[in-house]
């Protein structure tokens, strides 16, 4: 077992444990903080996969913006909810069942696929994934249309969020 594999197992265990704490923790603030741990674990995986830009974007966008937004929303909607009302709804047994079925089915489908044992492809010496990504996002023959659509979507979400949460006098 190499050092990378040990790092992978440790980070995977921490991320999955944090994910479990997110969905089972009674206190919402604790849930949100565990969510930060889980998102950070995913950022470590991006580093292991040599996608450095995505790792930085994960920290900036997910941890820096989304998790903080969620913490703000929890503080704005605070109530007795986290003390005496039940954490789970009546269907939680079925939820465990469905989640286990999905996990088993995904694992089975993926491990029976022949490409699963393929080793990691070599990155060629001259190629620079970051430069390639930047060029692909603005190249008309690749992803400029989805990229612009994403920015329009973000603008629409911004306007929509302000409009929805506006307090009318």
């Amino acid at each position: 077992m190499t050092a990378l594999q040990i790092i992978f197992i440790l980070v995977a265990a921490a991320t999955l444990g944090a994910g479990l704490m997110v969905v089972t923790s009674r206190n919402l603030i604790h849930s949100a903080l565990w969510l930060v741990v889980a998102l950070f674990g995913v950022a470590v995986f991006y580093v292991l996969l040599q996608a450095g830009f995505l790792a930085v974007a994960q920290v900036v966008v997910y941890i820096g913006a989304i998790a903080i937004l969620i913490i703000f929303a929890i503080m704005l909607t605070r109530r007795i909810m986290d003390e005496d009302s039940p954490t789970f709804n009546a269907n939680w047994g079925w939820a465990v069942f469905v989640a286990l079925i999905i996990f088993g089915a995904l694992t089975w489908v993926l491990t029976s696929w022949p490409g699963i044992s393929q080793p990691m492809a070599e990155l060629s010496e001259r190629s620079d994934p970051l430069r390639q990504l930047g060029a692909a996002l603005v190249s008309p023959s690749l992803y400029v249309l989805p990229f612009e659509l994403a920015s329009v979507l973000l603008l629409a979400a911004l306007v929509g969020a302000i409009f929805i949460s506006w307090e009318r006098k």
Binding site: L16, V22, L35, I70, W94, I102, L106, T107
Partner: protein, 102 residues
């Protein structure tokens, strides 16, 4: 050398945890957090497939960035909705928000 299957099984586990949170929790904000976990699992899959199968094409990373944008938009609108509902009905429990239930 980490096998591709480790990443895929990890992502499947993270997705299932998120799915459990979405299906089982009462609080709407935790449901949103479960959706975030699921989107992250999908992103790990996209990047792992990019790295192992086709590192010369950048599609995996480009789509992961689209997922980032969609997740940010979804959280902004979702949290605005919950805050608005909380103001009017004083709850964010998903089963008490039943205005449109016939």
């Amino acid at each position: 050398m980490i096998p591709l299957s480790w990443y895929l099984i990890f992502a499947a586990a993270l997705f299932s945890i998120g799915l459990f949170g979405v299906l089982a929790r009462k609080n709407a904000i935790v449901i949103l957090m479960g959706i975030e976990l699921m989107l992250n699992a999908v992103n790990v899959n996209l990047v792992a497939f990019w790295r192992y199968r086709a590192p010369e094409m950048i599609a995996g990373q480009a789509f992961a960035i689209m997922v980032f944008a969609v997740a940010a938009a979804e959280v902004a609108v979702g949290l605005a909705l919950f805050i608005s509902i909380y103001r009017r009905r004083n709850t964010v429990a998903a089963d008490e928000i039943d205005l449109m239930k016939w």
